[in-house]
């Protein structure tokens, strides 16, 4: 391949010299030397840029296409030769070369024509230029002057008739169809692609803006040159379009090599990933692929589903025009999936390289995601267990209330009524026995009530957290200020918050030596924050102290946190934060 490119380069240089000579020798107009050089430079620019792109972006057909365009642009100049064979062949290539240039713009950046509009435009370009050139050659036998040529006649080898007027009409029609209609359509197509592209794709497509400008300049130049005064077109317009034409292949090359630079970044990516924690992986990959919208999903073989870095299941979107999915595999097993900008579809090698470079990091991040997923499951199950335990406590308390307690009171009431019914005439022993039985029953009810309070305070059930905290404060052996304003919350949240306050007050009473105590419960943006604060001695042991550990377990089981702030000499705050979802 390298040899082929070298041969093309040498051939191109030879062709360039020939093209220069063909103009200088055959179009002897003063000042034409500089123009000849400029026109040859356009062809060389395409040729050189195409060769570089070809060498650097293997598998991308844009490089070879640009080389073809460059060769065609150089060959085009040989049509000015008075050699009949060269004239005939190269006249045919002449306008075709611009069709190739159009094809380059249409196929940027992948080298392929991606949609029907692009394909149709490219085909139309080739068909129009070939057909008209062929028709001109068939009808031109040296009589009359060809547009853009000097007055000296050339000889078409395939002329079948002599129609000077038809030839002129054909040439002018070609200008209108090719440089008027098709060029306008090409510019519209480019602008349409740019407006529809994603941000990433737009950065890559930017050189096409220059292409649109160049095509417009060239089209205007051709029309002015053909239909108006030549001197006007000869001046600025000529040089502007020359400069644009030389710059265009270079801009396209830079656009292609931008992606190539990203490839060079893959090596760097490997080094950076060494120092990147799993949660930074996505950002590094996004950087390497130049796609901030990149999402990474990891395949968990056990669960047979994709999860995000936090271990949550994420369904992969279908491969859509506006969002592409690339699955990364290792040893035939799915590893991860990249959900990315569709413009990366044009650079599958880059995505593959980045995926390969990040394989270890991806494996690592997948393990993290797996641990996260398992942890989430454990947390869910812990919350379910805690809720079930709370539910059970509530059920027991209710059963006591609705069952045993009520029945015992009702039974004692019957005994009292029996006592009253017997009245004064009763045997004093029976009266005493009835009274004793009723009193015993009442004591039993009292005992059950205490039991129920320990399991779950009835006031919590009957009146909610604020009232329960009030009751707790009333019963405490020191003055407690209560500041509680939540409405009713799920029972397990109320119970957890209540027991935090219980534990806090119990600790204050036992250890703090405090004079001012506040107990507060507030719903702060969906988090129940319950605080017991005192102005006592502080310095409380915060490590797994018996009651606190169990309480912390209970709070954490509901997704919350429990903490103790107890600087020596500055009081103690027990803070429980429990998500309550409202």
């Amino acid at each position: 391949m390298r040899l082929a490119r070298a041969a093309i380069a040498v051939g191109g240089l030879v062709l360039a010299v020939a093209a220069y000579r063909a103009q200088v020798d055959n179009l002897p107009v003063p000042g034409e030397r500089g123009r000849a050089i400029a026109i040859v430079a356009i062809g060389l620019s395409f040729l050189v840029a195409g060769l570089i792109a070809w060498a650097r972006r293997r598998g991308n057909r844009l490089g070879p296409l640009m080389v073809v365009a460059g060769l065609a642009l150089l060959l085009r100049q040989l049509r000015y030769s008075h050699n009949s064979t060269l004239f005939t062949l190269c006249f045919l290539v002449g306008d075709l070369s611009y069709a190739v240039v159009g094809h380059v713009a249409l196929a940027y950046p992948s080298g392929r024509l991606i949609d029907r509009a692009g394909k149709a435009l490219a085909r139309a370009g080739y068909a129009v230029t070939l057909t008209f050139s062929l028709a001109v050659l068939l009808l031109y036998d040296g009589r009359g002057q060809l547009l853009q040529f000097d007055p000296f006649p050339r000889k078409s080898l395939i002329a079948v008739s002599s129609q000077p007027h038809a030839v002129e009409l054909l040439q002018k029609t070609l200008i209108v169809v090719f440089y008027g209609v098709l060029a306008t359509l090409l510019i519209a197509y480019i602008l349409w692609r740019l407006t529809r592209a994603t941000a990433r794709a737009r950065r890559i497509l930017a050189p096409l803006l220059l292409a649109a400008v160049v095509v417009a300049l060239r089209a205007v130049f051709e029309c002015v040159f053909t239909f108006f005064d030549r001197p006007f077109a000869n001046d600025y317009l000529f040089w502007w379009q020359i400069v644009g034409f030389i710059a265009l292949p270079l801009a396209l090359l830079v656009g292609l090599l931008r992606a190539r630079l990203a490839h060079a970044g893959v090596g760097e990516l490997v080094l950076r990933l060494e120092r990147t924690p799993p949660q930074g992986l996505r950002q590094e990959l996004a950087h390497a692929l130049d796609d901030p919208s990149l999402e990474v999903a990891f395949w968990l073989p056990d669960r047979r589903e994709f999860v995000n870095a936090a271990g949550q299941a994420v369904p992969l979107p279908p491969d859509r025009p506006d969002r592409a999915v690339t699955r990364l595999e290792h040893d035939g097993e799915p590893l991860a999936a990249l959900v990315h900008d569709p413009s990366l579809r044009d650079e599958p090698e880059l995505v593959d390289q980045v995926g390969a470079a990040a394989r270890m990091a991806l494996e690592n991040a997948r393990l993290h995601a797996e641990v996260h997923a398992q942890l989430a499951k454990v947390e869910e199950s812990r919350a379910r267990l805690a809720t079930a335990a709370d539910e059970e406590r509530r059920r027991i308390e209710r059963d006591l209330h609705d069952g045993a307690q009520t029945q015992l009171v009702a039974l004692a009431l019957e005994l009292r009524r029996a006592q009253a019914r017997l009245g004064r005439d009763a045997d004093p022993e029976i009266d005493r026995l009835l009274g004793f039985a009723a009193d015993e029953l009442r004591d039993a009810v009292e005992g059950l009530r205490e039991l129920a309070r320990g399991i779950r305070p009835p006031i919590l059930t009957e009146a909610g957290l604020a009232a329960a905290l009030d009751a707790l404060a009333t019963r405490a052996p020191l003055a407690v200020q209560v500041d509680a304003s939540p409405g009713r919350l799920p029972p397990e949240i109320e119970a957890t918050a209540y027991f935090v306050a219980c534990e806090g007050l119990a600790n204050v009473v036992t250890h703090a030596g405090a004079s001012n105590v506040t107990s507060s419960a507030r719903n702060e943006n969906g988090t129940m924050v319950v605080v017991v604060a005192d102005d006592g001695v502080g310095g409380a042991q915060t490590t797994d102290g018996s009651g606190l550990r169990g309480l912390a377990d209970r709070v954490e089981a509901h997704g919350g946190r429990l903490r103790v702030e107890s600087p020596v000499g500055r009081g103690t705050r027990l803070v429980g934060e429990i998500p309550c979802g409202s």
Partner: protein, 214 residues
């Protein structure tokens, strides 16, 4: 006196109904949930409703809520709330602005048949009946800015009994004091709390409110 009883335990309901009938009440309806209670009160306009705090469907505070609604919609219907648990804060919420025609008793109090029947009658007449546990909690309460601080221990005791709903005569019996002594205490309480000009019944209510809110 016409009474409606609301309790989801049939056993309890029947027991209470019987002692109230024995006590000379006309039990016009026995219901098992809050909606039926409200309908019965709307329809029968009883003098007093005896209401269990917990009733279906959630067995939390249906009775207490129904009691507040009845108090708002039928100011002349007395409501006596029975609960398995007595909390002062809860009592306050129930009484809101007006302690007239309200009772809040521990369920066990029905076993003191005479006192209970008397309490129902008092509430039916627009008086109050507050459980002695509430009073005990409030008296035992420790706070820095107690407006009742100026009262002597004896006067606090008398005020507590007033809050329970006892008349001067009832207080005499309970504390074994002469009517004159009780009256002296009561007037002293009114004086210290600053209710000098109002009619006696109204001052009683104000004193009870001051007590509950202190």
């Amino acid at each position: 006196m016409r009474v409606v009883i609301a309790d989801d335990s049939v056993l309890m309901r029947e027991g209470v109904a019987k002692i109230l009938v024995d006590g000379g009440f006309d039990v016009v309806a026995e219901v098992g949930d809050a909606d039926a209670l409200k309908q019965a009160v709307d329809r029968l306009a009883p003098d007093v409703a005896v209401v269990d705090v917990r009733m279906p469907p959630t067995h939390t505070d249906e009775g207490a809520r129904a009691a507040r609604e009845i108090r708002a919609e039928h100011p002349d219907v007395g409501v006596l709330v029975l609960s398995q648990v007595i909390e002062a804060g809860h009592a306050l919420a129930l009484f809101q602005e007006r302690p007239e025609g309200v009772g809040y008793l521990l369920k066990d109090r029905v076993l003191e048949i005479d006192d209970f029947v008397e309490a129902v009658r008092r509430v039916g007449r627009g008086g109050t009946a507050i459980d002695s546990d509430v009073i005990a909690q409030l008296v035992g309460r420790k706070r820095d800015d107690d407006p009742l601080e100026e009262l002597t221990p004896r006067e606090r005791e008398v005020l507590g009994l007033m809050a329970e709903g006892l008349s001067n005569q009832g207080i005499c019996k309970r504390l074994v004091l002469s009517p004159k002594t009780v009256e002296t205490h009561v007037n002293s309480i009114f004086g210290k709390l600053g209710f000098v000009q109002a009619p006696d019944d109204h001052r009683r209510v104000l004193a009870v409110l001051a007590f509950l809110r202190s």
